[in-house]
């Protein structure tokens, strides 16, 4: 599903974000990428969403070879990947329903279809009764679940979650992780970055550790100590 072959990203001579990373993720896998701040986790995700281009190396996601990907086809690639951010990135002046619907409006889905689809997805993230709330009326955990609903509403094959629990209390953080596990059970490949030791250890999934832009450990059913 995801293949990185000797991928490097060098911003300038003094700053190498990622160095010769090799990573292979199978379909339906749940992979946790851990590492300190500045280790290169976010750069890795930006390479996958094609916000950045690698300095060298090969990236293939969902059968798409990024070397052959034209700029005008980038939007089509991004429609296949759901992304969740640490700071939620919800539109503050739109309701929960409208925020989720926004992802469908972008791809030109009809209004009736949107009205059918959005409640189903809000149900998956347990927010059906909050459809008409504004983001500032929600708790942090609820906002992040709205962001997840928006990321999965187009049924992407891959969900990338960049420190989704970073801004949340432990109680809410688990709500979010449970939703991610549920989505993974439905068959979506999940790539989660975090530096929450507790979450990593309880999930018992494949853990990839990045330090100074390099993968230093890649083990299944692993634990992690900061």
């Amino acid at each position: 599903m995801i293949l990185l072959d000797r991928v490097s990203k060098i911003y300038n001579r003094k700053s190498t974000a990622i160095e010769r990373i090799n990573l292979h993720i199978e379909p339906k896998e749940f992979v946790i990428v851990v590492g300190q701040s500045g280790a290169g986790k976010t750069t890795l995700l930006k390479l996958l969403t094609r916000e950045e281009k690698p300095t060298s190396g090969k990236i293939i996601v969902g059968g798409v070879d990024y070397d052959k990907l034209k700029d005008r086809d980038v939007p089509l690639l991004r429609r296949k990947i759901g992304v969740v951010f640490q700071d939620f990135k919800l539109l503050p002046n739109r309701t929960v329903f409208e925020n989720v619907a926004f992802a469908l409006e972008i791809v030109g889905m009809g209004t009736k279809e949107i009205e059918n689809t959005v409640p189903r997805v809000l149900d998956i993230v347990n927010l059906k009764d909050k459809a008409n709330s504004m983001p500032d009326e929600l708790s942090g955990g609820e906002r992040q679940r709205v962001a997840i609903a928006r990321a999965i509403v187009r049924q992407p094959k891959i969900l990338i979650a960049d420190e989704p629990t970073g801004n949340l209390d432990p109680k809410y953080a688990w709500d979010v992780i449970k939703v991610l596990e549920k989505i993974n059970r439905f068959g979506t490949t999940v790539l989660l970055t975090t530096h929450n030791q507790d979450i990593v250890n309880k999930l018992k999934r494949r853990v990839v550790v990045i330090e100074n832009g390099k993968i230093v450990s890649d083990k299944t059913n692993a634990s992690y100590r900061l």
């Binding site: 690639l77 990135k89 972008i106």
Partner: protein, 316 residues
């Protein structure tokens, strides 16, 4: 295809909503764009008016050749025929002594003492040939022709020929003023167009900055560049439409006020009543052209601004 129309509708809707939200930010852009369109419309109408004035005066100009009383019918006919064969002659007319007297009497009908004096004398007015030239600026050839010896002896020795010199000077003055006005207007339009471009750039730059989160989300959710750029272009097109309406409305107001309050038929060289008529007769056409101009300018500036400020390409 259905998807295209749905997306188009959403882009238009987003543009209108953004415009309403951004209204205070948009006012300077609309104001300066209105001035630009106002100048161009005023210049266009003034140009049409001055051309009309020149035409009218030109048509009134004719060369009068006053004839000596001794000219025979044979000589007259020959002179007329050779004149009408010249390339720069539009028409050749003849006013007999009696007709000249009748015209003179009609023109001075209120001056009784003058009329009495004229009646007491044997008609002192000469017959004349009136020549209307095609091009007023090329009457030298005509002069040379008329001044040939064989024709000179047919002319009244005292009155000779009138070339309507005063009117020609007036036409030259108007033509010069038209050129100056046209050039100054074009410079004005260019300056104001540049200023409105800069202000629109700035307005959209701020709008893009205010909506940077929304734009990031759209990009990451896989929105096509046109879906992101479209609303900004719609927004600036609305500036253009409003400016066009303001400019046409202002011109209408200007003509109404000058015609009614000032009670003036002209503003300097400009024949206001003709301008107002011209504007009213071509109202829908002018409105259409202004709308098209506003739309084109607004969307063009927005296209350039969004290319410049919306960073839609992946960085290397």
């Amino acid at each position: 295809m259905k998807r295209f129309w749905i997306t188009l509708y959403r882009v238009l809707k987003a543009g209108v909503i953004n415009f309403l939200r951004n209204l205070s930010l948009a006012l300077p852009a609309i104001a300066v764009m209105s001035v630009t369109l106002f100048i161009s419309l005023f210049l266009y109408i003034a140009n049409a008016t001055l051309s009309n004035t020149i035409n009218q005066i030109s048509n009134k100009i004719s060369i009068s050749i006053y004839l000596s009383d001794s000219v025979t019918n044979q000589q007259l006919k020959e002179f007329q025929t050779s004149l009408s064969k010249l390339p720069n002659v539009k028409s050749v007319g003849y006013i007999s002594k009696d007709e000249a007297l009748a015209i003179y009497k009609a023109e001075n009908a209120s001056n009784e003492s003058l009329l009495t004096a004229v009646n007491e004398t044997n008609n002192p007015l000469p017959a004349s040939i009136n020549v209307t030239p095609v091009d007023l600026n090329k009457i030298q050839d005509l002069k040379d022709f008329i001044n040939q010896k064989k024709y000179q002896k047919l002319q009244d020795q005292q009155l000779g020929t009138s070339y309507a010199g005063d009117r020609k000077q007036a036409i030259d003055r108007i033509a010069k003023a038209t050129t100056v006005m046209r050039e100054a207007g074009i410079v004005g339009i260019i300056i104001f167009a540049l200023v409105s471009a800069l202000i629109i750039f700035n307005t959209l730059r701020m709008a893009i900055f205010n909506r940077r989160d929304e734009i990031t989300i759209m990009r990451l959710l896989g929105a096509r560049p046109w879906f992101i750029r479209g609303p900004f272009i719609v927004e600036a097109s609305i500036y253009g439409i409003i400016s066009a309406l303001v400019s046409v409305g202002s011109i209408k107001l200007l003509f109404t006020i000058s015609a009614n309050s000032l009670q003036a038929s002209s503003l300097g060289l400009l024949d206001i009543s003709f301008s107002a008529n011209y504007f009213n007769n071509h109202f829908w056409l002018l409105l259409g052209v202004q709308l098209l101009l506003g739309l084109t300018l607004g969307s063009l500036f927005a296209y350039i601004a969004t290319r410049r400020f919306l960073k839609l390409k992946t960085s290397k």
